[in-house]
């Protein structure tokens, strides 16, 4: 079913909307959650929470890209759950690895105006991504949005792991330069 049809079901408050949403985007959401949480039960819970959030938010929200909308909710829920569960110490899993990798890009900074900083940074990342080749962008987001392992990205994109790593390294380097130019780091 097309996204517009699913959204119509949500607007009509039809419970079938959840079923169709799960059929179309369930795997994607579960993959993101599982990559972050590394726990099947937590991931399923996270995906179910996503459906619940969508049910509550649509309407009034009318997402232009439903896949992106649910993916973002799942990711944020998973990150939140991860942080709750690993409050004391960063543990294993792709999330921790991705944090380590991005440490290269951003280092540390003393800025404290958190919300404005986050907005600025998100806008900058959007602008940066807009200027990348689609293939590079997808590899970058598979790694740092969906937290996919390198070999999975390689398998999915039909490239060698070496090429994927090289692409990620190059994009990280360029992102760092971009953020420096924007005086965000």
């Amino acid at each position: 079913m097309e996204d517009s049809g699913i959204i119509e079901l949500f607007f009509a408050r039809s419970e079938q909307a959840i079923t169709v949403l799960a059929e179309k985007y369930g795997k994607f959401c579960f993959k993101i959650a599982m990559n972050i949480l590394s726990d099947r039960e937590d991931s399923e819970e996270c995906v179910n929470d996503t459906y619940f959030r969508v049910w509550n938010a649509v309407p009034p929200d009318k997402p232009a890209a439903l896949g992106g909308y649910v993916g973002r909710i799942t990711r944020n829920l998973a990150v939140s759950l991860y942080r709750t569960k690993h409050r004391q110490k960063r543990g294993g899993g792709e999330y921790a690895l991705a944090v380590d990798e991005l440490e290269q890009v951003i280092g540390g900074s003393g800025r404290t105006d958190k919300e404005a900083e986050e907005r600025e940074l998100t806008a900058a990342v959007n602008a940066f991504l807009a200027g990348r080749e689609k293939n590079e962008r997808i590899i970058f987001l598979m790694r740092y949005f969906a937290l996919c392992p390198i070999d999975e990205i390689a398998g999915q994109t039909g490239q060698s792991t070496g090429k994927v790593k090289y692409s990620l390294k190059k994009t990280r380097r360029d992102l760092k330069r971009f953020l420096e130019k924007e005086e965000l780091i």
Binding site: Y25, K27, F28, K31, P63, A64, A65, L66, G67, G68, Y69, G71, R72, R75, N76, V79, Y95, L97, V99, D100, E101, L102, E103, Q104, V105, I106, G107, G108, S109, R111, E118, L121, T122, V125, N126, L129, K134, N135, R137, I138, L141, M142, Y144, F145, A146, C148, Q156, T157, G158, Q159, S160, T161, G162, K165, Y166, L168, K169, R173, L184, I185
Partner: protein
Amino acid sequence: MNSLKLLECIGNIDEAYIAELEKAVSAPACPVRKSPYKIASWLCAAAACLLCAFIGTHFLPAEEGIEKNGETTVTETASPLTPSESDISQLPGVNGVPVTPGTPDVSDTSVTASPLTSAVPDILEHPVAIEVPVTPETPATSVIPAIPVTTAISETSEKPKTPPEPYHIPEGGGGDEMSAFNDPVQFILLGIDGALCGDRDVDGWFKAKREANPIPDDLSGHANLYSFIHDFDIPREEAEAAMEYYINSDDPQLRFSTEIFDLIYSENTAELGRLYANAHTIAKGEKLYTPRWLYYHTPEEWTAAGITPDDVESRLHLYENIPFAPEGREYFGELISEFLGRQVILDDPYADWVERDVPVVEAVPEDIAEDVSDEIVEEIEETDIYP
């Protein structure tokens, strides 16, 4: 701000990008398309192995010696095993002269019965049979030899010195790293799918292509999908059926449209080149001038080909990113400087990341190394793209 914050901000990016990601993640995994150069280098390596095996089994004597015309040769024995003295003393030796252990008769070199010595002239007379499958475009060894192009371009070339090796390929590398240097077209026209190869002599075709023109300047001279289809005279229906998987694929790197086939089969190479030349290549009508072509031609020849300073100037940032060997980078910079009439130094963007010829881990300064997780160092090491 820290990396955790950045990772969280990435979670709030534009939904359009996430939707794009969702499509990529949900699509069936892509089959790995091998670069034609990688395929060719594998085939060449396999051919070399077979040849070695052939020589070994047919021309090198076995442990017991080879009997020929009723005689057993010992002096040419290539067995790794050491026979006992009694074994040796029982052998008749060369031309019937007994062999004494420890005192090999080296004075008599006129052994006529040795299959090895008889094979040598044959091999020497037919050097093609043991040709090492290394050409400028198919790096099968760790170092690309100096390109024998002086004869190919000597009539017009007035370069004061021989171009150095433009690049090195790391051990086990297939040469894909230098695609930007060598290949004139985008990936979509570069790979030749196995389904399209079928039973055709792809290896021979690659070899002939390379030998005929090591520095091609058009689509026909280069090994690519266009030249493959035309050289083998493949009907359009067959090509479309073989490439069905890629037709209108969601992946822009793999997607084939009927328009590409239209251009290929209309032989409109100028339009094909205009649309599908890669960013490093300067397209001039039917001519495609790759960095490789520029590297092996003089600035005067660039001008004669209609290449303008703007063409080169606008690609400097791309040329910088080519993983040249240091001497190749310097040489190419000199050529460009001469052409543009100003000093151009092609900075090595990777120089501050990894020092060449130094193991990656050692190349990372200690103070930085502390901040770099083992995982990252491992990733860089495994990438192995730096010589």
